[in-house]
């Protein structure tokens, strides 16, 4: 039987998106709908002495204005989404965001007051009439200064700005260091970025007093947890709260955060005012109100033998939480764990301190801190290779884990609370394939010398990484064959462009022998599926996909049993193909799945004891640990020595995400991830000044890469199936962006003949110009 798995199936969802018929949250318009705008802090840090909203309340068209004082008991800090993992000796202080600032403001963009008006235009008029009295306090930004005794404290009741301290180790690094022939140590800095989904966040809410139901449309990646949390906050049954995440215009992590202040306030006010409300974040708000990528400062060192064998790595780093830490330690632990990469590192010591600053909260954004670990490790290897006089590709080859070392336990705890264990992998062939595709040997033998002679500065980078994906806790799915012959799949995850409508349909179509376009997937609607967590950590296809497949196989059993009975054939002879069930070798007698569905739900007679009505099944999948995807990226760049601009000439990805469901989608994820990575490495940086003001809170000045900046990525796939799930899937959502910073640094250094040493990301022409000038001096 033909299989859809592994096929380049065109997406089921595209027609709606291409014709403007797909529903996004801001498209929701209801009779009587009013509009919400928020007054946000201009100050990075200050004591809130007063908020005067009287003039705003009187402005024509204003329906209501709320401050923290108006919220009563509803005012409470948000939940701690991810408690710290069980690492011995760990110190952790949770401080989560509040709906509206009450005593203090802690970052620019923190909401202070909420205006409800007949239009967004009027609501914004009213914002200008609100007078806020703030006693300014010192901004906290520099991570080292933040921990000094005299630093202003972001949270007054804590002893300092230390949010967490985590130390993990395996082996004995000090001994490894003593035995080493070479120790290389450096400081590395990785600055903040924005997720910058093109769709900003939005929340619409309507309370129906007759059915006593609250319906919320939300650009969330996690509709079910939002529903559960709102029901609890509002004192409603979960069945009274419907959360719908329709088409979502890009997630990349921050749309998994909960609860954003707007997410609790809009539903609350809709119920209180008895009017449907909508708030749509504008781009300026997005730069202060939506959670951001991370900055970290690493002091790292690597110890090696003369032959280039890694003896150990030590890394001590500071991580910028922003003002709150609802997402716990996920991001710095990702950095800590991903640093080890593809390599055999017998001794590892890693300690980080997470720091409260007066900046927007940091939560996972595509890559979620993994790129920092990769940057540190790959930079250390590059530096060590130079000092040892070993080719940097060869140095990596000498330290790669070999296939017989899997599953490989790194003896430290990963973000999913399980020991960091790699499920499977085969790294050497991946490196070799990437080197062959980029033409590593020929580049150094012919191209680089030839172009250098012409005065052109070209350089090559090659970097490997692993990515922990597909973590639990669980997802579920319900598969139903309807009498029309259409197959309906409902799952709890939301979708933000990853192609779930198609990938899940492929898994189900294969199990049931139907055309993939006959499978209709519903995601992100709590009315459709009750249990689930969300789309994050490159886990949608692995966890929800596996649940879809299990449910479909359970339905298949029901189809087979019913068909066998009706066709008077042995169940083991029933074949499903082309939407029909038939006995093997009995082409004359067959039944369509639609007919079977109708027969499984009879209007008269009885359902046989032991059977359930309908052709439907629900299944769940909860992996006890995640998977490990991997990849090798290689790139050739040219640096203009006059302008310090960097142009990417070629970009190669050899990628292994286990079994591929749909190469078209996987390649799209990688190409897009690489673009995101290029942004991180060379274009995007949130520029905060020492007063905590974000200086580029617009898309004019926050530079997302455009079509002329991103090359067509050349890709090759390798498949080492995961043993942790029946389809051998791993996960791909974040892979493209993890290696890029390290890759840029290596390639640019190579292009400039190693005249400069790059220890910080993002790079920019300005930064490179100054590095080059310092090198000349």
């Amino acid at each position: 039987m033909a299989s859809y798995i592994g096929e380049r199936v065109r997406r089921n969802e595209d027609a709606r998106l291409l014709t403007g018929r797909a529903l996004f949250v801001d498209d929701v318009q209801l009779p009587g709908m009013a509009h919400v705008a928020f007054l946000r802090s201009d100050h990075a840090h200050g004591r809130l002495r007063g908020v005067d909203v009287e003039d705003a309340r009187r402005y024509p068209g204003v329906i209501a204005v709320f401050t923290a004082a108006d919220l009563g008991d509803f005012w409470q800090p948000g939940p701690l989404l991810v408690p710290p993992p069980p690492v011995p000796g760990l110190e952790f202080h949770a401080r989560t965001q509040v709906p509206l600032a009450r005593d203090k403001v802690r970052h620019v963009g923190e909401p202070i007051a909420m205006v409800v008006a007949e239009s967004r235009y009027v609501a914004e008029d009213a914002l200008a009439l609100i007078a806020v009295d703030v006693e300014p306090l010192g901004a906290v930004g520099d991570l080292e200064a933040a921990l000094l005794p005299d630093a202003p404290k972001v949270h007054d009741e804590l002893a300092s700005n230390l949010a967490a301290r985590v130390r993990q180790q395996k082996g004995d690094y000090d001994r490894a260091r003593a035995d080493a022939d070479l120790v290389v140590s450096r400081r590395f800095v990785y600055d903040r970025g924005a997720s910058a989904a093109i769709e900003n966040r939005a929340v619409a809410a309507a309370w129906d007093p007759k059915s006593e139901e609250l319906t919320i449309w939300d650009t969330t990646q996690a509709p079910i947890p939002i529903r559960n949390g709102l029901a609890r906050l509002l004192g409603l049954l979960e069945s009274q709260v419907n959360v719908i995440a329709p088409f979502v215009g890009g997630g990349f992590g921050p749309k998994i955060m909960m609860f954003y202040p707007e997410e609790v306030l809009v539903p609350w006010a809709a119920r209180r005012l008895g009017r449907p409300l909508k708030w749509t974040e504008d781009r300026h708000e997005n730069f202060g109100a939506t959670t951001q990528e991370r900055s970290q400062v690493h002091d790292a060192e690597i110890a090696l033998t003369r032959e280039g064998r890694i003896l150990g790595v030590r890394d001590v780093f500071l991580h910028d939480n922003g003002a709150y830490n609802a997402y716990g330690l996920t991001v710095p632990i990702n950095s800590q764990c991903t640093l080890l990469g593809m390599y055999r590192v017998p001794n590892y010591e890693s300690e980080f301190k997470a720091v409260f600053t007066t900046r927007t909260q940091v939560t996972p954004v595509r890559g979620a801190g993994r790129q920092h670990g990769v940057f540190v490790m790959e930079r250390l290897l590059d530096l060590a290779a130079r000092e040892l006089g070993i080719d940097r590709l060869e140095l990596r080859r000498r330290n790669l884990l070999s296939p017989d070392e899997f599953p490989h336990n790194h003896e430290i705890i990963f973000q999913d609370f399980a020991p960091l264990t790699y499920d499977s992998g085969d790294y050497l062939p991946a490196f070799d394939e990437a080197a062959a595709l980029i033409g590593y040997d020929r580049f150094y033998r012919e191209e680089q010398p030839r172009l250098r002679a012409e005065g052109r500065r070209v350089g090559l980078g090659i970097v490997g990484y692993v990515e922990g994906t597909g973590i639990g806790p669980y997802e579920g799915a319900r598969v139903t064959v309807e009498p029309s012959g259409l197959v309906r799949v409902a799952t709890g995850v939301g979708t933000q462009g990853q192609g779930h409508f198609t990938a899940f349909a492929q898994l189900v179509a294969d199990a049931l022998g139907v055309d993939v376009e006959q499978v209709r997937v519903v995601t992100g609607d709590t009315r459709e599926f009750h249990w689930g967590t969300g789309t994050f950590a490159s886990r949608g296809a692995v966890v929800a996909g596996t649940a879809c497949r299990s449910a479909a196989l359970a339905v298949r059993d029901k189809v087979v049993a019913l068909a066998a009975r009706l066709l008077d054939a042995a169940p083991e002879t029933i074949e499903l193909e082309g939407g029909r069930a038939r006995g093997r070798g009995r082409d004359d007698a067959s039944l369509s799945l639609g007919e079977l569905a109708a027969r499984a739900n009879p209007l008269r007679g009885a359902v046989t004891p032991g059977m359930e009505p309908g052709l439907e099944a629900t299944a769940y999948f909860g992996p006890d640990r995640g998977n490990t995807a991997n990849g090798v990226h290689a790139m050739i760049v040219e640096v203009d020595p006059e302008t310090a601009d960097v142009k990417i000439l070629r970009y190669v990805v050899v990628h292994d995400c286990g079994r591929l469901i749909n190469p078209l989608i996987v390649e799209g994820q990688i190409q897009g991830g690489v673009a995101h990575g290029i942004g991180n490495a060379f274009y995007e940086q949130l520029h905060y000044n020492e007063d905590g003001q974000l200086l580029n809170a617009s898309l004019m000045d926050y530079l997302l890469p455009v079509a002329t900046d991103v090359p067509d990525v050349e890709m090759a796939h390798r498949e080492t199936p995961s043993p942790f799930n029946p389809s051998g899937l791993k996960g791909v959502g974040e892979a493209g962006c993890i290696a890029t910073g390290a890759l840029f640094a290596q390639a640019v250094e190579d292009a400039l003949g190693h005249a400069v040493e790059i220890r910080g990301i993002p790079l920019s022409p300005d930064r490179l110009f100054h590095l080059m000038r310092e090198a000349r001096a």
Binding site: R10, D27, I198, F252, T280, R283, G497, L699
Partner: protein, 160 residues
């Protein structure tokens, strides 16, 4: 509040007349007053390109025009590329699907409108030409390569 003005416009072949505030952006007029939510808003300062529509056949940022300025004009939005529900996709839309040139699809309507204008001319179109025009649009999902493929393919089909 300022006085209202009347706007009459022909959008996707349909005549509309609405009374609006002069400050109403064309993007909001299309989405809210006409219910044509296929045009998306991503930045409201003219950078992201999601709100691009055709006015008299030329691409414009609908967030940088007031609705009143479109009075009397002929407009086309993403909804107008195909005649109606169930109709076959426009060759450009079909090429986007074939090449997987969209992921979340939020930026897509604006890109379609710019590219539709670019494809109007039968002159040869290099990848550099496509990328230069596409550079006026931000897409966070696709990394652009498949969009270039799709436009190249559609150009080949439309100007065979």
């Amino acid at each position: 509040m300022s006085d209202r003005v009347t706007v009459r416009a022909r959008v996707n072949g349909v005549e509309y007349e609405r009374s609006v505030e002069p400050r109403l952006l064309l993007s909001d007029f299309l989405r809210q007053d006409l219910g044509l939510t296929g045009t998306h808003v991503g930045c409201e300062h003219g950078v992201c390109g999601a709100c691009t529509v055709l006015v008299e056949g030329e691409p414009v940022r609908s967030c940088l025009m007031f609705a009143v300025q479109a009075d009397g004009a002929r407009l086309t939005t993403a909804e107008g590329l195909t005649p109606g529900n169930g109709a076959p996709l426009h060759p450009l839309q079909a090429a986007f699907r074939d090449a997987h040139a969209l992921q979340c699809g939020f930026c897509t309507p604006g890109i379609l409108m710019s590219m539709a204008a670019l494809l109007d001319a039968p002159s040869p179109l290099s990848d550099e030409d496509i990328r230069a025009t596409l550079a006026g649009h931000l897409c966070r999902c696709t990394g652009y390569a498949n969009i270039v493929r799709a436009v190249r393919k559609a150009h080949g089909q439309l100007h065979r």
